[in-house]
Symmetry: C2
């Protein structure tokens, strides 16, 4: 096995060791897949962007997370470029929109000449509160280093200085930490090389689309654009990773916006090229220094969404060659999932004796047993559909009967037919997630699905503690999707406008990783400033708005 770098090989060795007895089932194909992945690495497009205004922070309980920015009258030139920075001391610039890329600034001597270094702190942030919340001592569960504050010691003025690290931000605070009494200088020509591989938007809304839909659509597109780099990243501020679950939603949003299917192909091949010796698609991939998967990050829900992404890619492009090339990978993910299904037709997370990670949403205590039963049934349908399109259905002839068995088992074992909704786990947890995946997989008819969702949503109104609601736009996507599947069009539209429109009303330029309308400070990481405010899995309104134009655009 040869891969594209020492680290990759090392990683594959580690992962291979996870299952030391397994044969390397893709030994012959994997290098070819990786070559195809590397051969489809996109060029980034560059745009130089300059700040549009100077802003001041205002503490305001009515603003999202308690902070907002107000523009200042003075221009950037007057407030910064033409002023002794020892008098300015601190300033915040607004670049007008979310940007991802590389920052450069220039300094110029205003009087006498430099006799000492200057120290300047640059804090880049996506949200006003992120910019105005003290970061230290650090309270987040992720690395403090994700926060985008960098201190630069300027040894020589009168030249350009670039910060090497890629930043994702809209606001930039500049603070003076050290200067000499013996010369004066200004910071001037602040600029940003914004990068994306997205390209031009290929779709447009009907002229009479409501304003809020137009806004939600635009923010969705900006979110996706910022996450489209050399891969579909989960977030340009934090993680910078290609996740297969996020990729699935991004590919759907991409269909109705940039239609950049080469990037989908590139990502599908990366996952295949970095699959483990026993053929598992690892949940997420890092690109640097050479592409490699996160060690041991096996997330079965995401393996199955890779299959759906390949199916959607084939439908979008008719690229049979790629789909045929990658078909063994899809079949392998499905077979792997099937190995968890018992003789009773129920998915069992502990079937192999050790825990398998099943991600559906960031929501503390969410029980994933019933959602996974639905997700496995859905994956059987999707992967079988792919097999048929590729003329491979004979290879998987047993799947339709398995799917039928699982549907039947789901209804008899997990469905509370008296109450009209699915429950999950020994505690019989009631969640939107369970209903959504049972609707998506067709286990519930449209009528039953409506009843299940309406009952659970109304239960949430009367007894909120008894229902697990979605915790993120990712979980909410599957709720909207289920509503549209089972004929709750008006509810879907209202919910989408209320939820994503709520972010827009709170000032979102891009959609946030975590959003609970009732809790501005919700964070999966114990500290909201480390949340990503431009997150791929939140970009799907553009998909719904264009897939259902009659519903959203009139």
């Amino acid at each position: 096995m040869k891969l594209s770098g020492i680290l990759c090989s090392m990683m594959m060795l580690f992962l291979g060791n996870m299952n030391a007895d397994a044969q390397d089932i893709f030994a012959e194909q994997r290098e070819g897949w990786m070559q195809k992945a590397l051969g489809t690495t996109p060029e980034l497009m560059h745009e130089t962007v300059r700040p549009v205004s100077v802003v001041k922070a205002v503490k305001d309980d009515a603003a999202f997370q308690g902070w907002r920015y107000e523009p200042v009258q003075e221009t950037v030139e007057a407030a910064l470029y033409e002023r002794n920075f020892k008098d300015v001391k601190e300033i915040t610039l607004d670049f007008g929109r979310h940007l991802t890329g590389y920052f450069t600034f220039h300094t110029k001597t205003l009087s006498r000449c430099q006799d000492a270094p200057v120290r300047i702190k640059f804090t880049f942030g996506e949200l006003p509160a992120e910019m105005n919340t003290p970061l230290d001592p650090w309270k987040g569960s992720l690395s403090r280093a994700w926060m985008q504050d960098e201190t630069v010691t300027v040894i020589e003025v009168d030249k350009d200085i670039a910060i090497e690290r890629r930043m994702a931000f809209r606001y930039l605070k500049i603070e003076l930490l050290g200067a000499s009494p013996d010369f004066d200088f200004a910071i001037d020509d602040v600029r940003f090389d914004a990068v994306s591989s997205a390209g031009q938007v290929q779709t447009q809304l009907n002229d009479d689309a409501p304003e809020i839909i137009r806004q939600i659509n635009d923010v969705s597109i900006e979110t996706l654009r910022e996450c489209m780099q050399t891969v579909f990243e989960d977030g340009p501020k934090r993680d910078h990773r290609l996740w297969s679950g996020d990729l699935y939603l991004q590919s759907l949003a991409n269909r109705y916006s940039f239609r950049n299917f080469d990037l989908v192909k590139h990502c599908l091949y990366l996952f295949a090229g970095l699959s483990t010796d026993d053929g598992i698609v690892i949940s997420n991939i890092f690109e640097h220094p050479v592409p490699h998967p996160q060690y041991g990050s096996y997330c079965l829900t995401y393996c199955l969404l890779w299959n759906s992404t390949l199916l959607e890619y084939l439908k979008d492009t008719n690229d049979m060659e790629t789909a045929l090339d990658l078909w063994p990978v899809a079949r392998r993910q499905m077979e792997d999932a099937i190995s968890y299904v018992g003789a009773d037709g129920i998915f069992n997370q502990w079937a192999r004796g050790s825990f398998v990670w099943l991600f559906f949403d960031w929501r503390d205590g969410l029980d994933v047993n019933t959602p996974m039963q639905g997700a496995t049934i859905f994956a059987l349908q999707q992967t079988y559909e792919l097999a048929k399109m590729l003329g491979k259905e004979k290879e998987v002839a047993s799947w339709p009967s398995l799917e039928k068995k699982m549907r039947s088992a789901a209804r008899s074992r997990l469905y509370d037919s008296r109450k009209g909704y699915f429950v999950s786990g020994e505690e019989r947890q009631i969640s939107i997630c369970s209903q959504a995946w049972m609707i998506k997989s067709g286990v519930l008819s449209a009528k039953e699905g409506q009843r299940a969702l309406k009952t659970v949503l109304s239960l949430n109104e009367s007894e909120p503690e008894s229902v697990k609601m979605p915790g993120t736009p990712y979980g909410t996507h599957y709720l909207i999707d289920a509503m549209l599947t089972c004929g709750m069009e008006t509810d879907a539209r209202d919910y989408l406008i209320d939820y994503w429109g709520g972010m827009v009303r709170k000032g979102a330029d891009t959609f946030w990783e975590a959003y609970d309308p009732n809790d501005d400070f919700l964070s999966p990481y114990g500290f909201s400033p480390v949340n990503s405010a431009c997150h791929a899995w939140s970009c799907t309104p553009v998909y719904f708005i264009h897939k259902y134009p009659e519903l959203f655009q009139k």
Copy 2:
């Protein structure tokens, strides 16, 4: 006038404006001098140095400035390279000696793989107390950015990362500011590219030189070595500048150590090439981005020491070509100084109606009138000696009589013959500095000089507030020099051993910019950690020790 860069030209334009009516007296020569300066820029020699031990800080009132380091048993490998840095959290390394240059470190993954940036703070310092004194909020009068603490966000582990800024240090503290819970890493292969243009030491002590003299000699040489870069810098940690006053002392120390006279020539030419339109040698020069003088930094004492440096260079090298080439510059400095001398033969700092900066020492309230009378007389002698060596004495035929007149005026106006010492200014200030320069210039005979110094030193014992003692090794150099000039050999040796040996006993690897045996925290800048602990003007014991071998080396 064409110089070697836009900035230079700009600077010269500004400086030209200082004296808008003056003709550009060196218009034709200056470019040639600058070309000769650039043509003699030395190559730096490189040495890779690794830390020798791990140390821990100990608060100790008996230690210099209250802190010392103790070595830890564990090796650098065991304590750092082989250990998860998330467990190490903070460590201080001792590189064993003062170094100037560039730092590189490597990181390696220990478990799983990097999923987030890491943030590490590196603090480089020359002295234990500098490393252990909180720097913020900043109390120094110079730029906070001189302090050598840099925070690095490591976006990619498993590779070398270099800190671009040049550092001068012996100790390095490494602190973890941010890491991910999801992977482990070590910092390994910490190394330093130490640079100097000094070369090999060309002198050695007599075998029976006392141990303290040997130590003082070695520390002097290390101090000079560290300050010898592409120019003779004043200090490698702070200022990084070529000062003509420091150059004079460095050239004397260089004679008895590295004997690298090409570097002296390079520096003499830089000053000439960057002299003002009216021919003034500006006190200090920055090399980057292109050589340029500090705007408006006209220090007449330093102009005259440039002349002495040229004279000493000629004596060391017999390089008549260079000395003849630069003779007009020396004559101009002297003529400029003469313009301050009144008909009464007394140097008048206000002769031109505006203040002229005369630096003799960092000592608050030091009156410089009498010292400058002596320094001008000395410069007349030195520059006339240079003229004679170059066959140029006819050009300056009036100088001997002026010198005689100034000596006479000094004795009649500034000397308290009853008390046997010189006083300075309207307040009749008593200082070592006044006596030292009157001895150096020969105004006082050896016998009178001894009386003056002994009286003032004993007055300092009985009434310390009535005497201005030297505040730095720079001022102390001229005291030792005066003692040796007037036959106080034993006093000179004792004073040198007491003063510079005091630094050695307090742990100096290199000699400090400011040192008062009775005040560890003396600082010209309001905050001792910003002091330079390796300062050119403190390196002259090697000069005395070798110039007077019978006195110091037996």
